[in-house]
């Protein structure tokens, strides 16, 4: 049903008589197992022996979502059953029973994570697997005290770190990591944004990491969040923006063909909304920042005259700069008294149109986009 990345010739070769015979045997075994498990379920059998049946089925087929549901139903009625010691008279008995229950829950949850781990390594893109691990962790939060629950969630951070080392772009992994962090923050009552930001830096600075769009995206979310959490003022935000621009400029100069870098660069230069690093940057400072970025790109263009990402950045940034020039000065802008240079906008537009001509030639696939942009420049 899903043959992503399965080569046609490999597939044909795998259909040997020997393999078919193997499959037939496996199928027989699988169908018998499924039918036994389902009949247990239809009898409302929520026993440990049925839990073991679901393990066998899920090892053969982790996509069988109904089996995960059955498994969770059994767990909730066995190992994870809520415990009410109020019927016990003797206090020592309450202490003993509570401790025993607590221990049993920890053991069951741990076993559940151990069961899904090897499956996750083989099926890292299986939604149901990630989902079941998350459910297990949620049970830890529901049943255990917060310090014990936090241990489960933090341990899971190690796993997701390992998964992301194996595939640095697995979006299940990144999504999962965000969920884990959110829960750990809740349990520990403290932000982890700083540590996570350091993590993304480690990823992009690692081998091949510059191409990692997932990590750049995560930086674009984390930096504004961290600045808000730390109540940073305007100057500190502009400093943070400058640091990021420096980091990305270096990367772009090294490898201007890397698309991931350019989306991040555009975020830094153009984003002005709530999600920006320095949303309230005074107009004069923003003008200076944009002018400097545009100058550096023009310089880079000299050594790569047909590099489409440089050209694309320029045809977007220069019109944005023109629009900014026409905005009224910010009220808190100290430098507004300075004489602003007269700019020949017609000359700028001529250059943008030339860049767009080059883009149509070097990137004919997206010609339609460049024609639309040129039309807008001409009409302006």
């Amino acid at each position: 049903m899903d043959n992503h990345g399965v080569s046609r010739s490999d597939y044909a070769q795998s259909r040997t008589e020997e393999q078919k015979e193997k499959d037939r045997k496996k199928l027989e075994q699988y169908l018998a197992l499924v039918s036994e498990t389902n009949s247990k379920r239809s009898e409302n059998d929520f026993s440990i022996s049925s839990l073991e049946l679901t393990s066998k089925v899920l090892k053969m087929n982790p996509e069988y979502y109904t089996m995960w549901n059955y498994r969770r139903q059994i767990l909730l009625k066995t190992h994870l059953l809520s415990f009410d010691p109020s019927a016990l008279e003797d206090l020592d008995a309450v202490v003993e029973a509570t401790a025993a229950h607590h221990g049993a829950v920890i053991k069951a949850l741990k076993e559940e994570q151990e069961f899904t781990l090897p499956l996750l390594l083989v099926f890292p893109k299986c939604y149901w697997l990630w989902n079941h691990r998350l459910w297990t962790l949620e049970q830890a939060s529901v049943i255990l005290s917060s310090d014990y629950a936090a241990r489960f969630w933090k341990k899971e951070l190690e796993l997701v770190g390992m998964m992301l080392t194996r595939d640095a772009r697995n979006f299940h992994g990144w999504m999962y990591r965000r969920i884990l962090i959110r829960e750990v923050e809740k349990l520990e009552k403290g932000s982890r944004a700083k540590g996570e930001l350091e993590y993304t830096l480690k990823v992009v600075m690692g081998v091949g990491g510059m191409k990692n769009y997932s990590a750049w995206h995560q930086r674009s979310v984390l930096i504004p969040r961290l600045l808000n959490e730390e109540n940073r003022d305007g100057q500190q935000r502009m400093d943070a923006l400058e640091d990021e621009l420096e980091l990305i400029q270096k990367a772009i100069t090294t490898d201007p063909d890397d698309q991931s870098l350019w989306f991040y660069h555009r975020f830094l230069v153009l984003e002005r909304g709530e999600g920006a690093i320095a949303p309230k940057m005074p107009r004069s400072a923003r003008l200076g920042m944009m002018e400097q970025q545009i100058e550096e790109l023009k310089e880079l263009l000299e050594s790569h005259p047909e590099q489409r990402y440089i050209l694309k950045a320029l045809v977007l940034y220069v019109p944005a700069l023109q629009a900014l020039r026409k905005e009224p000065p910010s009220p808190d802008d100290e430098d507004e008294d300075d004489e602003e240079e007269e700019v020949d906008e017609a000359e700028e537009n001529k250059q943008i149109l030339e860049w767009l001509e080059t883009l149509q030639r070097v990137d004919p696939m997206r010609k339609g986009r460049y024609i639309d942009l040129a039309k807008r420049i001409r009409e302006a």
Binding site: M1, D2, N3, H4, G5, V6, S7, R8, S9, D10, Y11, D23, R24, K26, L27, Y30, L31, V34, N38, M60, N61, E63, Y64, Y65, T66, N69, Y127, N131, L134, W135, R169, F171, W174, M175, R178, K211, N212, Y213, S214, H217, Q218, S220, V221, D258, Q259, S260, F263, R266, F267, E271, G273, G275, A276, P364, M365, R366, K367, G368, R369, D372
Partner: protein, 323 residues
């Protein structure tokens, strides 16, 4: 990293209609194979993919209507949700497929649509998103699915559309795209679900098509195929999600249509029919329908018109939605 198999010249490749019809109509004859049984959790989705492909190919009668109806209704669970196959549990993804199938063959009158719609509506969470089932996993895929089938059932009034829209907008990233949850990285599949949801809700005007269109157009690679995220490989299914999103925001002209036609045609298995994710990979019905839908949206001759929002024949959505 990209498999830069040289671009197939679209003009020299043809669409093998009869082969594809044969491939789809004989899928069910593989009932004795392991892979058939291992994919039972996708059975009803498979029927939707196959049926839609056949309609787009102009062979709507190739799957017997009665059999289709009896299979789909056999998946209806007492709660009002559909399962992927008899004996499985209800899930939103199977329910969407069930409703799409019945709408396509004009058989929505064979089920209690109110019961189904109420089950779907009950999956909406406090923050506007939808869960996939009673176990609570949430994702913008489910939000789109809910809006898709509730609009086909004419029961949008059962949910809080405003909250759903607010949730989608919270998944909107500064790069113009959308992720599976607030803060998550942009991803073509999630963009399709979010743009589709906004379109169904009539709220597409809330987003900036310029940035999004730019991000989407950058998905096209040298061989004409489109990828799902930056620095990833091209794939027929992602090509559809990107293409349909571009269509919804009115920017189909921002990619090389001919290049994409060539890429999809180059993914056909010319011997046995069917379309794969990339040239020379093994075919499946999933990539077959998205390949055909892509060709249809690109105006390929001889195919029925597809609706980019629903991935169903346009004639069907016109009949059901009345526009």
């Amino acid at each position: 990293m990209a498999t830069t198999s040289s671009r197939a010249p679209a003009a020299t490749l043809a669409l093998h209609v009869e082969k594809h019809v044969h491939y789809i109509t004989t899928l069910d004859t593989a009932k004795d194979t392991l892979s058939y049984h291992l994919s039972e959790h996708l059975r009803i989705n498979g029927v939707y993919w196959g049926l839609t492909a056949l309609h787009l190919l102009g062979h709507p009668e190739a799957l017997p209507r009665d059999e289709t109806i009896s299979f789909v209704t056999s998946c209806l669970q007492p709660c009002g949700g559909f399962s992927s196959a008899p004996g499985h549990d209800a899930h939103l993804l199977s329910t969407v497929s069930a409703v799409q199938i019945l709408a396509t063959i004009d058989a929505l009158d064979t089920i209690d649509t109110t019961l189904v719609a109420k089950w779907v509506a009950g999956l909406q969470q406090e923050d506007g998103v939808f869960a996939g089932d009673e176990w609570g996993e949430t994702d913008t895929r489910f939000l789109y699915g809910a809006l898709n089938c509730l609009s086909l059932l004419g029961k949008m009034e059962l949910i809080d559309v405003e909250k759903a829209v607010e949730y989608v907008l919270r998944c909107w990233n500064t790069d113009g795209g959308f992720g599976m949850a607030p803060g998550a990285e942009s991803h073509s599949g999630q963009i399709f679900t979010c743009v589709g949801a906004l379109t169904i809700a009539g709220r597409l005007g809330e987003i900036d098509g310029e940035m999004l269109g730019d991000w989407l157009a950058e998905r096209q690679l040298a061989n004409g195929g489109l990828n799902g995220r930056p620095e990833k490989l091209e794939d027929v299914c992602y090509s559809w999600w990107v293409l349909s999103s571009l269509a919804m925001i009115g920017r189909l002209g921002w990619i090389d249509k001919e290049g994409l036609v060539g890429f999809i045609l180059g993914c056909q298995d010319e011997k046995k029919g069917g379309i794969s994710d990339r040239p020379n990979d093994e075919v499946d019905v999933f990539h077959t329908v998205f390949g055909l839908a892509g060709l249809s949206l690109l105006g390929y001759e001889g195919l029925q018109e597809v609706d980019p929002v629903y991935c169903m024949p346009r004639s069907v959505t016109k009949r059901v939605l009345g526009n």
